[in-house]
Amino acid sequence: MATLQAHIPAGPLAQKWTRHKFESRLVSPANRRKYEVIVVGAGLAGASAAATLGELGYRVKNFVYHDTPRRAHSIAAQGGINAAKNYQNDNDSVYRLFYDTLKGGDFRSREANVYRLAEVSVNIIDQCVAQGVPFAREYGGLLDNRSFGGAQVSRTFYARGQTGQQLLLGAYSALCKEIAAGSVQSFTHSEMLDLVVVDGHARGIIVRNLITGEITRHNADAVVLATGGYGNVFNLSTYARHSNATAIWRAYKRGACFANPCFTQIHPTCIPVSGDYQSKLTLMSESLRNDGRIWVPKRREDCRKDPNSIPEADRDYYLERMYPAYGNLAPRDIASRAAKRVCDEGRGVGESGLGVYLDFSDAIRRVGVDKIRERYGNLFDIYKEITGEDAYRVPMRIYPAVHYTMGGLWVDYNLMSNLPGLFVLGEANFSDHGANRLGASALMQGLADGYFILPATIATYLATVNPTARPSTDHPAFREAEEHVRGLIRRLLSIRGRRTVQSFHKELGKILWEYCGMSRHEAGLKKALQLIPALREEFWQNLNLPGTDSELNQSLEKAGRVADFLELAELMCRDALERRESCGGHFREEFQYPDGEARRDDEHFAHVAAWEYQGPDKPPVRHVEPLVYEEVKMVARSYK
């Protein structure tokens, strides 16, 4: 049975990380080169971790399924990265960023982790600027900031609408430097398909070469997963098409606990679905809510009218009305739910009725169209390409879409899972965002984990490991894991049924969106828990999978990932069912106040739920890590 020891250091909140670093064990420079570390993924967390570990002198192997490490989906983050620099002199501080993030997460994240994240945030900006990340600047040459949801200060650093791209290219350039220096070995087109556990410790991975189909074993003294979130379980999301849960899911099936799987983020500002063929949803950055005002018509009968013809008095700026203090910058979960509510009332706009207006006409009148173009030009261009509409003239239409997963593999304060030697970074872990992530905090967390936290904490573990006794890839555990992977692939290819992988993925996505999406209730979740296993059974009997395993086979890649989604989806519903409260992105209809706000239950659910796999035929066990707030008092989260 797994034991969850969070290993939160003692002492006052503000001194925990400093003290912990001092008390951590070290590996001397001469000894570091004896250690091998596997890093899976090269997004912000993976690339920054691999590069930094390489700089420190560890021997690093980095695996990505992309053709190059520069493609990970961190690249698509638009709006920005938070840091408590207080460059705007608007009374920001480490403590305020910490508090905003904790409150934004609806008091379902670990206090000490979040404080550390805020503390480290300032170093990230320094690091990225030194790497040449071209952040936006003021005329005086100093760094510019903007505001994001859930904050009343301007602490977000940005590079036009391409902040994620620029930060990722920064981390990728650091990785390139280390690859050239020989400290990092880069494996591209290489997908991790299993974790190898020897005597309870993570000791390696099994990898499939996506071009040749070759399966290889890789051993190491520690394995770091930085493989991103699992939002593509919904099929339609803002994730890249290839983003998947396979690495973390297979680690879960090897004993790593999966924490808060039902905590998913639905982003309020995405371009609405236009048809059944749709392959992905496109985000319109939250930064747009700095200048755009969100509204729907007050009357249903106005919903089909030209929005510019609807007079001011007939418009309902519902976020400004319901949350006057934060207005259009209410946090994502709240803004999404409010959009759903007005659409459910029949006041949604656009062909499907599932849309609300994001209107820039006031801002254009205030600062001029050129200023708006400078701030958001590329986003307006994207909007036009997709919808064919000019948002400088007519309001954008937006609707919530799956965007991020706060849940992930359980980790302690050192970012190590309950499996010793397995570290999990970035979106793949559960640690810092509680039940809802604030905008511009994902980039912050990925880079905090990779540049600053893991490089310090991994030594404590490695110092206990003897690298000369590293199990070889001939160890029975490696053989067993490789056989397992080969068996799975063989099984998938031998089904020879009639339905395509994509049709299963689409159906699964619909079930989850309906019953485990923006709002959930007991009956629906129970229904999903019947529908999902039935769909999974059909998948394993009726999958039509073309091609072979000894070549590039994109259908096979996808089939493996969808097979995992079909299991993960069940765990998400199970977790949502057990969490009998509403918090952050997890809204249970049974638990709300009369005004429709989420009713949290701190007495029974102020904890992390971490699930432990028990085998294919037994339900997983739900472990609980209580959330203890030493410094902050849990309060009802209000943005009114």
Binding site: A51, A130, E551
Partner: protein, 260 residues
Amino acid sequence: MKVKLKVWRQKNAATPGRFETYDTPELNPNMSFLEMLDVVNEDLTTRGLEPIAFDHDCREGICGTCSLVINGKPHGPHRGVATCQTYLRSFRDGDTILVEPFRARPFPVIKDLIVNRKALDRIMQAGGFISVRTGSAPEANSLPVPKEAADLAMDAAACIGCGACVAACKNASAMLFVAAKVSHLGLLPQGQPERYRRVVAMVEQMDREGFGACTVTGSCEAVCPKSISLDFIARMNRDYAVALFKGVGARPGRAAAVPA
């Protein structure tokens, strides 16, 4: 609407390829070009045929994974967008559309429409970075950067590394890609210490990879999904000339081997 696709099919790098023609199922003009390929692949799979392999991922024009030469043009008919942001409303019902991989000697075909662009990574590894160790960075605002320099650096840094510039060039030159990276770092004060070493190292690696010479015809700029300006090539040439004049060489031991 429906269209006829003439698609390049090739089993692997060692096997010669050929065009195959497919009539698509019913399509919607609001579909993206890649969603159209999804629909065609669903149809092929259901009919027991092998789906078309093509590269894609983010489908919002930023990851640089998607490629394709559509009717002879990398990333299709429109300026300043990638294939994934190309929509069927740009085509007419009944059109015949030619779909090919990016063709260039340094980009060998892996399968069908997928090519290997690792050569671009090796150019980056030769010098596409500022050598700063994590933890050693000074306070960010201690180094003011003129807004104009930061904006111009950002224009260059917007490159998504897709390789369309190479595919469009009659010489398969990678100058626009390399120039974008060289300029991004060379325009910023942080990039100055390695400025000349960097340009020499990256240009030398580019030559080793077998990319051709630049004759400034500008087809690269015309197809670039991020509209990276040709001016950056002029800037890089200037830096390269200065580096030669100064006698700056690439750092020893940085050259990456080009696989046979």
